[in-house]
């Protein structure tokens, strides 16, 4: 238990940043529970708790990466019960992050109805509130678990498989709850069934992985040609090969499965299509986050200064991203023409796709010093701003001037991020900005 507790402590309190976020989260959540239970009709104060939840979740955001690194380390093979303890620590983390949801949502309902004293006196009301707490808590556990998987994929799996996985997970995470809410099919039992199945499968797979892996290695050889074909980074310019941008068609291929899933799940709703395609373009652009570290290998092998290297890297990244963006635009316009999207949706949707990609591309290029406050705030803004704009664009009554102004704002933000990225590249320090695999070696 001591090891599990220490691991969980490290996930939440591992760095000054995560400590601060965790503390803010706990304080905001405590404050919100107090307000909701002490004040009648204070349900609208739920936002305090929501911000607390976000802070708590971001505060524990090192968990997937630390978990993965520890799981793949040699130490995990020799320490007694290491994998079981790691698994338990992940479960406890998900539990801790989800628990407040099961408290603040029912507390808000209690506050908005008859108050805590009245609810305690009324068995029917109490039963309803407890049922609500169970549903929200178990739903939060499912959601939080998958969110950690997305975080892990975004931070460690910068590959075709990682991109496909991330896009599909984002899709499922958003679509499934929407469907359940629409169909009113969500229940505690159903949530518990999901949790049991997911954690049992994940747990069994995780605990048995060393043996599975040994088995996989034995059968890997006959299918080596498949792996070689999929890894296909041997084509393209050498500059792009070293940066990891040599084969943009892999990025395009990564869209196929998520798009097929979307066609099945979404149908012809313009809002949803634009929403998800914007997420896809933003996630694709964010792959540029690997470029500053990988550019280290280029520094001694060319005529470029730091300034000209930035320009060359920028061209390479855009050459790569333009293929994916082109594919997304074609899909959007194609679906739009078939599905009868309105002209404003098409006219403002296409620039939004480009803006989503541009914002995350330059944010990734600006990450020359790892993730700090500015990068985290910008990353959240860059993820959410284009998504919010999709709802404006799809709203029949929204002012086109306002949409234009908002898109212009995003454009200015992209220009600003490019400026920041360029300035940082003038002073890029490859002693602190290294390729990911080297960080993994150091972390292991």
């Amino acid at each position: 238990m001591n090891a599990v507790a220490r691991l969980v402590w490290a996930y939440f309190m591992g760095s000054a940043l995560t400590r601060t976020l965790t503390a803010i989260g706990v304080v905001l959540l405590g404050l919100d529970v107090f307000i909701l239970l002490a004040q009648p009709k204070a349900g609208e104060m739920l936002w305090v708790g929501v911000f607390g939840l976000i802070a708590l979740f971001v505060g524990s955001s090192w968990m997937p990466l630390m978990f993965a690194r520890l799981a793949s380390s040699h130490a995990a093979r020799v320490m007694p019960g290491a994998r079981a303890k790691l698994l338990a620590s992940a479960f406890v983390t998900v539990l801790l992050v989800s628990l407040p949801v099961g408290i603040i949502v029912p507390a808000a309902v209690v506050s908005d109805t008859s108050g805590l004293t009245e609810v305690m006196r009324d068995p029917a009301a109490l039963k309803y509130v407890l049922k609500l707490a169970a549903i929200t808590f178990t739903s939060a556990m499912i959601f939080a678990g998958w969110m950690y998987v997305v975080l892990w994929m975004l931070t460690s799996k910068r590959s075709l498989k990682g991109l496909v996985g991330t896009l599909i997970l984002v899709l499922l995470l958003t679509l499934l709850p929407v469907r359940e809410i629409r169909d009113l099919s969500v229940s505690t039992t159903w949530n518990l069934q999901q949790l049991v199945v997911v954690w049992t499968v994940f747990g069994a797979g995780f605990l048995w992985w060393p043996r599975v892996r040994a088995g996989r290695l034995r059968v890997d050889q006959p299918f080596g040609f498949v792996n070689r074909a999929l890894s296909g980074r041997t084509t393209g310019r050498e500059f792009d090969v070293l940066l990891g941008t040599s084969n943009p068609w892999l990025g395009v291929m990564a869209l196929v499965v998520p798009l097929l899933l979307m066609t099945y799940a979404v149908g012809g709703a313009s809002t949803v299509w634009l929403f998800f395609l914007t997420i896809f373009s933003t996630v694709t652009g964010a792959m540029s986050g690997q470029v500053p570290g990988r550019s280290r290998a280029l520094w001694l092998r060319g005529t470029w200064s730091r300034a000209t290297l930035f320009s060359a890297v920028e061209r390479s990244v855009w050459w790569h991203n333009a293929h994916v963006l082109g594919a997304l635009t074609l899909v959007f316009v194609g679906i739009g023409l078939v599905g009868g999207f309105s002209v404003p949706v098409l006219a403002y949707g296409v620039p939004l796709l480009i803006l989503g990609s541009a914002l995350s591309t330059y944010l990734g290029l600006a990450a020359t010093q790892g993730l700090r406050w500015m990068e985290i705030v910008c990353a959240i803004a860059v993820m959410f701003a284009p998504m919010l704009l999709t709802s404006f664009i799809s709203n029949m009554h929204a002012s086109l001037v306002l949409i234009f102004a908002l898109e212009s704002g995003l454009f200015m933000l992209a220009v600003l991020l490019r400026h920041i990225a360029r300035r940082r590249w003038m002073k890029i320090d490859w002693a602190v900005c290294r390729p990911e695999r080297m960080m993994v070696i150091r972390g292991a």
């Binding site: 070689r228 041997t234 090969v241 520094w299 092998r301 005529t303 320090d429 002693a431 080297m438």
Partner: protein
């Protein structure tokens, strides 16, 4: 002749942590510099500053007459570097990785690399992902040799190599340095390799260059003194440049730096003692300096 590398007053800090302080040196063609230091002494940082990967926080460094942070392409093409942790692409085969890196240079000695691949037992068709740490290290070294650099910088290049591969690597390094036109700077914890190969030694201690000079001067300078008195107890005396001293009755053993025959004569005369000087190996010198 222009120094291959010239640095003066170099300092480097990562936040509040001072890694290097007031480091000055020059590296000329023909020099084979062995850099010694404990873990965290600043060896890798020093080499990375030379290569322009990271800016110094104070002082300046020039490589072939150019600021390391702003080296033009023709200067960079004269440098070869073997990093401590390889920067290979797992997805590629050895042949593809060699081709990718070769494409960045106007001159690439394919014959040399082919020969070394054969001699070192590097399978050019092997996928890098499946290679051992030692095999990856061999490939990293090959990648740094291919364009026949005039300045070769190696950060703990032999740490992962077996004794045979290490010997082959050292022989190759000797062959490269034999024409006296190239400069080599390499860090290593294997002191015997440095002793065998280097004609100049840098010892980094607490971020400062505690010693720099040729190996013979170092061995002459830092010595162990066996001191014997005439009576039953040694008289009190001060040994110039003493690093440590251990007294035992009429005998004492001391390690001193900047030792000279004049200092010996003066001490023998003033303290009425007999002194026998023992020359130390590089490893013992390193240990004494860090005791």
């Amino acid at each position: 002749m222009t120094d291959a590398v010239a640095a003066s007053g170099l300092g480097k800090a990562f936040g509040a942590r001072q890694v290097l302080q007031d480091v000055s040196f020059g590296v000329s063609p023909g020099d084979v510099v062995g850099v010694l230091g404990k873990n965290g002494a600043g060896k890798t940082t020093l080499l990375e500053i030379m290569l322009g990967y990271t800016p110094p926080t104070s002082g300046g460094i020039r490589v072939f007459g150019h600021e390391s942070l702003e080296m033009p392409g023709d200067i960079k093409s004269r440098i070869g570097f073997v990093p401590q942790q390889d920067e290979l692409l797992d997805q590629l085969t050895v042949r593809d990785q060699l081709r990718v890196i070769a494409s960045f240079y106007a001159r690439w000695d394919f014959a040399l690399i082919d020969r070394l691949c054969t001699e070192w037992g590097v399978d050019v068709n092997a996928r890098i992902k499946g290679m051992s740490v030692g095999e990856r290290q061999k490939l990293s070294i090959l990648l740094a040799f291919g364009h026949r650099p005039e300045l070769l910088i190696l950060d703990e290049p032999v740490a992962s190599l077996d004794p045979i591969a290490r010997r082959q690597f050292l022989e190759q390094l000797l062959a490269i340095s034999a024409d006296g036109q190239r400069a080599i700077v390499f860090s290593s914890h294997i002191v015997s390799d440095i002793e065998r190969l280097a004609n100049r030694i840098w010892i980094l201690k607490d971020g400062r260059l505690d010693w720099q000079g040729d190996l013979d001067s170092l061995k002459e300078s830092i010595v162990r003194l066996h001191i014997r008195g005439t009576g039953t107890e040694l008289p009190q005396f001060r040994i110039p440049g003493v690093i440590n001293v251990r007294r035992d009755g009429a005998f004492a053993t001391a390690v001193a730096r900047d030792w000279t025959p004049e200092a010996q004569r003066a001490l023998e005369k003033s303290a009425s003692v007999q002194i026998e000087v023992e020359t130390l190996g590089l490893e013992e010198i390193f240990l004494e300096l860090h005791r």
